[in-house]
Symmetry: C2
Subunit: 336 residues, 2 copies
DNA sequence: TTGAAAGCGCTAACAC
DNA sequence: GTGTTAGCGCTTTCAA
């Protein structure tokens, strides 16, 4: 098949070792031989076998990413973007990206355990940090490198990239208050996600600052799909004294919220205001275009990867916090 | 770190060879020793090193998937779904999935070349089959296993999974004709994609069957993003004698088309009809909900993976063609 | 039924 | 500067 070190060695009449070192540009090989060997390698189309290198180096130069569970039919465009960022950065840093999914309904954790035990990857990128996160627990116990998207409250020392969602939701809330809204509804991500609680706090703090408060009955939890946004909003809107503004934990749910409002005969942006979170590309072209919180999705992916690889390599690295910005479109309007 | 064969061998006082064979359930090891060894392995938490296995077996048990180019800010939910399907099937078939992206604007092909040369994967899944596809050309030359999503006209012998888009577009066209439409516009995928030409044919054939024909000036090509759908539709709608129905090559562009129509003051589903292709989950909740062609995205991913792995393993396998079905929602209506 | 030995392709200590 | 030797963890002849 493909040329090996031995082939190159034979061709130039040197030992395998010499060839290896020449190709890795070690100083102890004469410039002359180095050039000779590089030349020969090129002619033979030699490329090292990564597998052999991995065995010898006892590293995989591979990082793992487990797709958030997808009910067939639903997938979050947000994470596709993050993944694209990770993949691009991985190429730059010369590591491979191993993407996995749960084998059907197997426990999420199984995948991580298996990958660790078989030494398939050098570290993991975790998304959707949970309040009590079994993955973090497990990896931490085994001193396995990881970075998380969203800081873990329980393990604050783990490297992370964060979007300050509390700040973000505060921004949206403030905006809605200025528009005159006083009755708010929330459609949050599942409560077991760290992000969910932070979002709630963001809203509550901002309301408190303005001497307002949130009716506990006006908080709904979805599963991040439009469908769940739709149903949550239906309930919120059907209740007595319905909210005039609904903040959603992600854009997908916000789309569902808008649909529900429209199905209820409400004009979004006039009779009811809706905000999202993420600013996926669809948000710009929804009907009406969605007011939402933008986060640098692709960049986040890149940073996650960079942080992890640096952590693995023992290089200096630092966590990073992004502050989302409010993108004002037409899904919110002044209270009538 | 983690236990190796040697550790197990030492523990039971047998040779490494015996342990290896016992663990792989070779018949030539007494049931007794086998049980003993399995027991010991379990106690030590032994798991084989995949890297070592790969070196020895000269296979990587890994398949490659290169993300379609993503302009940061744009990513097609359709492919996230496909990817999820691939990943789930990969887990089932016990192979790893290596996901790559182009390092910035490097030629798409580079990634494939590099992976082949360094023997990183055993085969590739290709999406977005092009009319003249350099990737297929290259892999074929090197006798490297691959499956494509969408049959290649030039290399018809390569295994593929196909959605009959010609049939699909025919379905949509027929539906629109029945609604009374006579003036059609098209927003197609880039012409270098096999799919683009097939879609055009689907429309043209159906029109011809009904003694209608398509004005060449009413064909626009987008890049699969909403944005391009928007601009294409703007042009189509601004021209003299504009179409009353616009068929789009994917849902994302259809969203853009709807936005453009709405921006031009047209009521989608009444004054202008729009269809999409893919039926991504957003389609159900767009405003208005999009009439589109459904294809079993997740399943397609699974089949692609299955087909590739079987091909690699030399098992019997067969290409498969899916026929999309028309999902009628509210973006189309009778001609007024 | 079991073990010794070789080798997958590479890197790294240690000599010369 | 360069080569010899060993070894990463595994599978697989081939003997015993």
């Amino acid at each position: 098949m493909s040329a090996t070190l031995r082939d190159v060695a034979n061709k130039v009449g040197k030992s395998i070792t010499t060839v290896s070192r020449a190709l890795n540009n070690h100083e102890d090989i004469s410039l002359e031989t180095r050039a000779l060997i590089h030349q020969a390698a090129k002619e033979l189309g030699y490329r090292p076998s990564v597998t052999a290198q991995r065995l010898q180096k006892k590293r995989t130069d591979t990082i793992g990413f487990v797709l958030p569970p997808v009910s067939p039919g639903f997938s979050d465009p947000f994470f596709s973007q993050v993944l694209a960022g990770i993949a691009s950065q991985a190429a730059k840093m010369d590591v491979d990206l191993l993407v996995s999914a749960n084998e059907d309904k197997l426990d999420d954790l199984e995948v991580y355990v298996s990958h660790v035990q078989t030494r398939r990857v050098d570290g993991f990128i975790l998304v959707r940090t949970a309040v009590d996160d079994a993955r973090i627990e497990f990896l931490n116990e085994h001193h396995f490198p990881m970075v998380t998207f969203g800081k873990s409250k329980i393990h604050p020392t783990i490297q992370f990239i964060e979007v300050d969602v509390e700040f973000g939701m505060g921004l949206a809330t403030e905006y809605l208050i200025r528009l005159g809204h006083r009755k708010f509804g929330l459609v949050l991500p599942p409560p077991y996600l760290v992000r969910s609680g932070a979002m709630l706090q963001g809203v509550q703090h901002k309301l408190a600052e303005n001497s307002l408060q949130l009716d506990g009955a006006k908080i709904a939890y979805g599963d991040l799909s439009q469908r769940s946004g739709y149903h949550s909003a239906q309930a919120l809107l059907a209740a007595p004294d319905p909210p005039t503004a609904i903040l959603s934990g992600n854009d997908l749910m916000a789309f569902g919220v808008m649909s529900a409002a429209q199905a209820a005969g409400l004009l979004v942006g006039r009779e009811v205001s809706v905000t999202g979170f993420d600013d996926i590309s669809l948000a710009e072209h929804s009907q009406p275009p969605l007011t939402t919180l933008q986060q640098p999705t692709y960049l986040i992916g890149q940073r996650l990867c960079e942080l992890l690889v640096k952590t693995i390599r023992g290089e200096a690295s630092q966590t990073e916090v992004f502050y989302p910005s409010l993108i004002i479109r037409n899904s919110c309007g002044p209270i009538v």
